[in-house]
Amino acid sequence: MISWVVPYPTPEGKTHNQALDDLSKLLLAQGYEKDVPYCVECEMYVSLPEMMPVQKVFHVILDSDRPASCFLIPDKDQSISITAEKSMMGFLSKLSKIFKTSPGKTGNLEVRGQTFLYRDFCVRAGILSYGGVIKGVIVEAELRSCSILITAVELMKEFMSTFMPTPMDTVPSYISSKPNILGAMYSPLETIHQYYDIFASVRAGRSLVSR
């Protein structure tokens, strides 16, 4: 179930929606089958200054492909991120006096798109929007039959080169920054971290770097 999450470089003169449509058509032409739509949301929780002297921030990420889980990633130290049950959201709503979230989902990041299946591969392509503003196209490529990253690095590069406009030379930045996960059993939390990596750069105002 190893996944690589990368931004898709939108060509000059095209909108992000058009780029997504082109990618979808390319995948369907290569023999992929359309599957269910998907959505990955990221909500930020900030501690209230009167409750905590030092401000604490954490992010809650929900993935429609893991409907029974929610993922909590702190802002400062990402090594203590948590995979929790969905009922954690109910628990967080009870902490509204301590942690507040931006009203009306204005500060939320969201990736919404379509899943495509081919043999043991799964490609998810969606539009990334921040507070309702479209920021880019995100592609997630998953090899469902393998759980060890290091055994399939070259294979994944070759696979992504079949639909990405530019060949993949390196692994996603999150994976290269954490060499210990290369040899470990892959978990869905690593995929969520890759999404978070992209969300953090968008929140910081950096543009999505194309590969």
Partner: protein
């Protein structure tokens, strides 16, 4: 002697059945037949007594041998004691034989076969009669049928035991003092039937594990399914091998690392060996593995064939990390190089393998 002992054992198994049958039949038959049956019952009891005497004689024979061995008798003393015991045993067996020889003719003279064929079928009830009448008529039939069924099952069991005991009795008949017994070459020794085959297979795998660096194995001995070895290849996928005898691979299935076979004893779910994998690459691998089992199969050298097959499985650890030898790519229509050459263990895609075969 073995054939007499065999027959005596079968008669011993039959005795309770025959006694039951005679009692059951006695309820319904005429007086003359009843008298004949009574006589037969007496004969059977005499046979039973003779068999008991024979049993005692056999035990004496065994005791004599053990005593001779334990107390270090000289050869002459031991020979005399054994000769006495053997003579005693032989006379008992002859007695049993004589008594038993009369039984089949007396049984057939009763005309039991014709009597039984004239019995009403099981479950039949008379119609148009009062309840008291039918009940009185039905109950003797019921006890007769129950006894008949018991007799039949005892007879069948007796026949089965005799066929198992005969080879062992023929072995003990040849046993001599002070020398190891010469077993019949084609028959398995009794203790070999119950040998711990899984321990032997475990030892074979441990020996070969040094050269198979990517395999982690576990041997399971399941009463219903035999010996199953589960290999985990480099944590990527699992292989389940069903082994027959010591080293013959009977079947193989390959599934992903997250698809459990549930072979551990504490797993509550049922063991699932043969469901194909949910991933296409492992379904193709399972087919190739079955082909490899047949390729490496060698009836005269099972350990060598197992070793070759395990080396082949070991080479599959580079399933996702080695490109195809022929085309140089990792993927061919979505699948990695799933076949390994049987001699050089080089990686090929399914399509590239066919082309290599046809061009070389």
């Amino acid at each position: 002697m073995p054939s007499c002992a065999c027959r005596s054992l079968s008669i011993a198994a039959l005795l309770p059945g025959l006694v039951g049958l005679s009692r059951g039949c006695g309820i319904l038959m005429a007086d003359t037949k009843r008298a004949e049956l009574f006589q037969m019952e007496q004969m059977i009891q005499q046979v039973e007594a003779a068999l008991n005497r024979q049993n005692i004689a056999l035990k004496d024979y065994h005791t004599v041998i053990h005593n001779a061995r334990d107390e270090n008798y000289t050869a002459e003393e031991a020979a005399v004691e054994i000769q006495t015991a053997l003579n005693n045993l032989e006379s008992c067996l002859i007695e049993v034989d004589q008594k038993v020889a009369d039984l089949p003719s007396s049984v057939s003279s009763l005309g039991l076969a014709s009597f039984l064929s004239s019995c009403p079928p099981i479950g039949a009830t008379t119609t148009g009669q009062g309840d008291g009448g039918t009940n009185a008529a039905a109950s003797p039939y019921r006890s007769l049928y129950e006894e008949l069924i018991t007799t039949y099952s005892i007879h069948e069991r007796g026949r089965e035991y005799c066929s198992v005991i005969l080879p062992h009795l023929s072995v003990h008949a040849h046993r001599k003092m002070g020398k190891p017994p010469k077993f019949h070459p084609n028959l398995p020794r009794p203790h070999e039937i119950y040998e711990d085959v899984s321990k032997k297979i475990d030892a074979i795998f441990r020996q070969q594990s040094a050269s198979l660096s990517t395999l982690t194995f576990a041997v399971y001995d399941l009463p219903a399914a035999g010996v199953i070895v589960e290999l985990v290849v480099d944590r990527i996928f699992r292989v389940a091998l069903t082994i027959r005898g010591t080293a013959f691979v009977e079947g193989v299935n390959i599934r992903g690392s997250d698809e459990n076979f549930n072979l551990e004893a504490k797993a509550l779910r049922p063991i699932d060996l043969w469901t194909p994998s949910g991933y296409e690459v492992y379904r193709v691998l399972a087919r190739n593995a079955t082909e490899a089992v047949l390729h490496y199969h060698s009836p005269n050298e099972p350990e060598r064939s197992l070793r070759g097959f395990l080396q082949w499985i070991n080479s599959l650890a580079t399933l996702f990390s080695s490109p195809c030898k022929r085309c140089g790519k990792y993927l061919d229509s979505g699948l990695p190089a799933t076949w390994r050459d049987y001699k050089k263990l080089e990686a090929y895609h399914e399509a590239c393998r066919v082309l290599t075969f046809t061009t070389t």
